[in-house]
């Protein structure tokens, strides 16, 4: 019989530095970077023996370079050493069908490249001259197995492979197999101690008694002590085609004080993100306004990422598979934004073992379940829900009750995820989620709210949002894959106070994202895509005064209620095309990604505009573990609907897309296993910024806004990071930047409202014995600019002072922000469940940290509004494995 044999043989796997072809320059410098888990071949495909070679009695060995992606699929095969006779083609064809278990570095699954020798051997009975037969192994008489057992992880109850099992005082030792089982022969009869160990797990000692003629069975439970337990769930993982790559694991996220375990909030501890007032989570990325940064779920834009108050994001963290944080110079797949991008990736699959999580803290509680349904295990389910009770807690705060006003925020959210993996080349995922937020602000009964009858009822904000999206990914061939995501959304917003001030809006959105990846050549990927968005809205706008009266402002003029209602439609059928070109066999040696995005915008009856945004990103490996990154591109952002609206149907809004030209140059270097450093400089030039029309004379006939504004941002970002390995993690993040705006051509440049020159964040965590973890975050941030005032003119008719500015706009700065947050976690791990309790100590440094300047009634005195005081915030998280 003919048998192409697997000769073997996996060469070393390389997470970042696959070996160059023989003779290629720099080959002697290459060495594999550290992996915490090597890929393992789990599906070998036998190649057909070439008939011509068989007939000629020829055998051969083909040396292949296999490129394996994060899921273990072979996506590219290169012949490094040819064997001729048709062996190369047969080996390549078979190797493309191999499946590996994913390789992992400290941050989780990674793509790797590895050498593979594919051997073709003729059956000895059929042909003479085959490869030498394997030597005959002399049989030895083995002692019987008298100690066997299984090593199981506490709480998850999953069997642990590759655990060391040893009997001290003897030379008996072994490793557990894939099922966590082990067997030892010849263990001395009598009492014995068995030691189970592996870095990252608590060493376990088990006392046993060996009896003559019997096999002793042991089940050993060991406790995971490593941050690596969460490594599979990396956040801030970015495709390496982007100019920046940062990966923070959920193990770290959950322990960073001040973030409340929310992976999206951790963005604010990374370079490029400015500190938001009171830690509200407002996204201020690389000197851009909050509304200029886009928040997506699987590429689908959502209106809000945080619940009201900015305390928690609208997703259960357990559902989040990754968070792509792209502060700038992202690829053509993202658009309609001039700021940064945050794209939340939902976990695609559920573990085989069902998991139930319950989390509770001072402000809300929520539950989460994930598992698989059906005998096939191909139906992956995840369900989560959460509800706040802060509206009941707030009145218990003594100072709150004395303020005269009652603030009642309330939020709730839900998520349902379904995934199907039963099809060979197709993956289907559905995700439905929604959230609701409500805020009531009012005074106690019998207390007037201001001096106006129109404001006497509670001020209320109420909004909710629903999204449903389905993602279908299909692999047509080795060279072509495609993915499409249709999505539907419905948003409702209400804002009102009293009878006369009412703003309601119903909005529906359809969005379709589609992207194909075509590999016409091993060095090129061509990626066309669509990002079509269209939607409509109905609104009703009620005011206690006619806004037309504001043009000729007269506070003594009679007011009359004003109501405006209408509906509008908008569409933006964006298309984009980008390519990944890797001209060398080592795919990381150079990557160039040119792209073009076209953003046509039509707001029915208001405006039509279009933008062409060319972008290019390059990334080159210059030394071992060292990459130079550079990018430049244009980014356009359509006017928001309220900016484009005009109540006069005869007036079309003469607005165009806002535009940013951004460029980035950077370098990143892997220093040691887990320790990396990166440095980037960036610039951003903004133009066509929408500002109010200072020539406005009539609301009926004049444009409300113009595109006269410009801006400029420049900065430097630095990050030194120790990835979570065993007991520790941490990073130092520093951003130096300056962001300015100029509203009109003849006005002065002024600092951006949230311009923060220095942003230094130091984060670290350490695992102590007994399930205790300590972590901390230190922040030093330059104070925000503000416009100073020195006195005012008293408007006797209205009983208020109009302030005199004593300096230019944003010419003064608040004192610097200095804060130290600490967190202590204590975990209890049981055989079927585990519980984590924690206390966040916010502002342990007890710094004043002014957030705003407050003036007295006539602007002759001022004081700072303090930031967060020292606050201990406890919580508990219970995880049950079903």
């Amino acid at each position: 019989m003919l048998s192409p044999l697997l000769l073997a043989l996996l060469g070393p796997a390389f997470a970042q530095d696959p070996p160059p072809a023989p003779g290629e320059a720099g080959a002697e410098q290459e060495a594999p970077p550290p992996l915490v888990k090597d890929p393992a071949l789990i599906n070998f495909v036998q190649a057909a023996f070439p008939q011509e070679a068989k007939d000629a009695g020829i055998e051969g060995i083909v040396l292949l370079l296999l490129e394996v992606n994060e899921t273990g699929q072979v996506y590219n095969v290169t012949v490094l050493e040819s064997a001729g006779w048709g062996f190369d083609e047969a080996a390549v064809e078979a190797a493309k069908q191999f499946v590996f278990s994913p390789a992992e570095d400290a941050a989780g699954p990674v793509p790797v490249a590895l050498e593979f020798e594919y051997g073709f051997v003729l059956d000895a009975a059929a042909t003479e001259g085959a490869l030498p037969e394997e030597p005959v192994v002399e049989e030895v008489v083995e002692l019987p197995v008298n100690l066997e057992g299984q090593v199981v992880e506490m709480a998850t109850r999953r069997p642990l492979p590759e655990m060391s099992v040893a009997v001290p005082g003897t030379d008996l030792a072994t490793l557990t197999d894939a099922e966590g089982r082990f067997a030892l022969r010849g263990v001395p009869i009598g009492p014995a101690k068995v030691v189970i160990a592996r870095p990252g797990w608590q060493t376990q000692e088990v006392d046993v008694v060996l009896v003559e003629g019997e096999a002793t069975n042991v089940v050993a439970w060991v406790r995971n002590e490593s941050y690596d337990q969460d490594a599979a769930m990396g956040v801030y993982r970015k495709d390496k085609v982007e100019v920046t790559q940062r990966t923070i694991t959920m193990g770290e996220v959950r322990r960073i004080p001040g973030t409340f375990g929310d992976p999206i909030r951790v963005v604010q501890s990374l370079p490029g993100a400015a500190r938001s007032p009171f830690g509200t989570g407002v996204l201020i990325i690389r000197g851009s306004n909050p509304e200029d940064s886009g928040v997506y779920v699987e590429g689908v834009r959502i209106p809000f990422i945080y619940h009201i108050g900015g305390y928690v994001s609208v997703f259960n963290p357990d559902l989040i598979g990754a968070v792509d944080y792209l502060p700038g110079n992202y690829g053509a797949q993202y658009g309609r934004t001039t700021g940064g991008v945050i794209d939340v990736k939902i976990k695609q699959e559920a573990p085989e073992q069902g998991r139930l999580v319950w989390s509770t803290d001072l402000l809300d509680s929520g539950g989460f379940y994930e598992g698989r349904l059906g005998e096939s295990g191909n139906h992956h389910i995840g369900v989560a829900a959460r509800r706040s009770y802060i509206d009941a807690v707030l009145p218990l705060v003594p100072r709150y009750g004395a303020s005269g006003f009652v603030v009642r925020p309330r939020w709730a959210d839900y998520q349902v995820r379904y995934g199907y993996t039963g099809l060979e080349d197709t993956r289907v995922t559905a995700f439905v989620f929604g959230f609701s937020d409500k805020l009531l602000v009012g005074s106690d009964d019998g207390v007037a709210q201001g001096t106006d009858q129109d404001t006497q009822d509670d001020f209320a904000v109420n909004y909710w949002s629903q999204r449903a999206l389905v993602t279908v990914e299909h692999r047509f061939s080795d060279k072509l894959t495609a993915k499409i995501t249709p999505a539907f959304g419905w948003d409702y917003t209400y804002l009102g106070s009293g009878q006369s001030l009412q703003i309601t809006q119903d909005q529906w959105i359809w969005q379709v994202r589609g992207e194909a990846v075509w590999r016409p050549h091993p060095t090129i990927e061509v990626i066309p895509g669509i990002d079509w968005l269209w939607g409509g809205a109905t609104f009703e706008f009620g005011l206690p005064f006619n806004p037309n009266s504001l043009v000729e402002y007269d506070p003594l003029a009679e007011r009359e209620d004003y109501t405006l209602s209408g509906k509008g439609q908008a569409r933006s059928p964006d298309v984009y095309l980008k390519a990944n070109w890797r001209p060398f066999k080592d795919p990381e040696r150079l990557l160039i990604t040119p792209g073009l995005r076209v953003t046509p915008v039509r707001i029915v009856d208001e405006l039509d505009t279009i933008s062409f945004d060319p972008r290019v990103i390059a990334r080159a490996k210059v030394v071992k573990g060292g990459f130079v990154k550079a990018a430049t591109g244009i980014y356009s952002q359509p006017p928001q609907s309220f900016e484009a609206y005009h109540p006069n149907p005869d007036i079309r809004t003469e607005l165009v897309n806002e535009r940013a030209w951004t460029s980035t140059l950077g370098y990143e270097q892997q220093l040691t296993q887990g320790l990396s450093v990166e440095l980037e400089v960036f610039t951003k030039d903004l133009d066509n910024l929408i500002v109010s029309n200072r020539e406005l004379q009539s609301l009926s006939t004049d444009q409300f806004n113009t595109n006269e504004g410009v801006g400029r941002v420049k900065g430097l970002e630095f990050m030194l990071r120790q990835a979570a390995i065993n007991q520790t993690f941490g990073w130092v993040s520093y951003t130096l930047s300056k962001s300015e705006r100029r509203d009109y051509p003849d006005s002065e440049w002024v600092l951006f409202d949230f311009d923060q020159t220095h942003i230094l964040t130091v984060v670290g965590g350490y695992k102590l014995p007994y399930g205790i973890e300590a972590s901390g975050r230190f922040q030093y941030v330059t104070g925000n600019p503000y416009t100073p005032y020195a006195g005012g003119v008293y408007d006797i008719d209205q009983d208020f002072y109009s302030a005199f500015s004593s300096g230019d706009t944003n010419s003064e700065r608040l004192p610097s922000f200095v804060a130290l947050d600490l967190r202590i976690d204590k975990a209890w791990t049981f055989k079927q469940w585990r519980m984590n309790t924690y206390v966040d100590f916010l502002n342990a440094y007890r710094g004043v940290n002014p957030e705003f300047v407050q003036y007295n009634y006539d602007y002759t005195e001022s004081a700072y509004i303090r930031g967060l005081p020292f606050i201990p915030s406890p919580g508990v998280n219970i995880e049950v494995f079903l």
Partner: protein, 276 residues
Amino acid sequence: MPFALLMLSGCLTQSLSPAWFIDRTRLLAVRAEPAEPRPGDLVTFTSLAVDPAQDLLIVWTGCVLESSSSFGCDTTDPDAISLLGVEPLLPPSLQVPADLLDDLPEEDRDEGKNYFLTLSALPGDTDLSAIEELDQDDLLELGIKRLPVSESTTANHNPEIRQLLIDGVIEVLPGGVLTVQRGQTYSIEPILNEDAIEAYEYITSDGVTEPRVEEPYFTFYATDGSYVVDYSLYPYGAVDWTAPVDPLADTLTIWSVVRDRRGGMGWFTLTVEVAG
């Protein structure tokens, strides 16, 4: 951060003077008589200008504006500004120009337009012969007021506070003195004249005549003691005021000002003696 934390954190690094506390020069109210004159009418003015430490001179100037502004007359055009008086030396008054509304269409004259008043508070010993040389630093307080001028048949009148009702039972008339106990909290409610709440007609932007009734509101001030809330709305006009606990406090003043939102104002000054 959650609102709970905001509520905990929103305190100031130092306390700021509240608007009700009279510890400096303040222009609290202005009263024109009549409150809404017709072109050619003679209007007299009085102000409620207070300062616990010194006498004041209030210089009144005025101008005609093509459109209203938050900051008053155009000081770059001195010819457009008229000196109306200097309290207390020269009681301010204005002969409303007879042609003030001539540039308005007939149908707009019921609504009329505003004449603009500027009040400058100066120290009582200011040498007025050198008034041209005064600069911003000499000003103790600057206030603005609009005087509606119209041909309306339901022209506005100033509201009057007839008396203050203390704790719902004690009636204090103008010129009266109230004796309070140190540290004690009192309810203070301004009582308006019966005709203070006026009904009038308003022509909407659609040309519809709409009957309306005034919705006046009150603001409160004091030289000592404290308010939690220093404003109220008619007809729920009462606020709580707590007498000072300082053993040195003996006599203080409380003011209540009423505004009818149409430019009409009135006020009540109450002398309080602290006992106990």
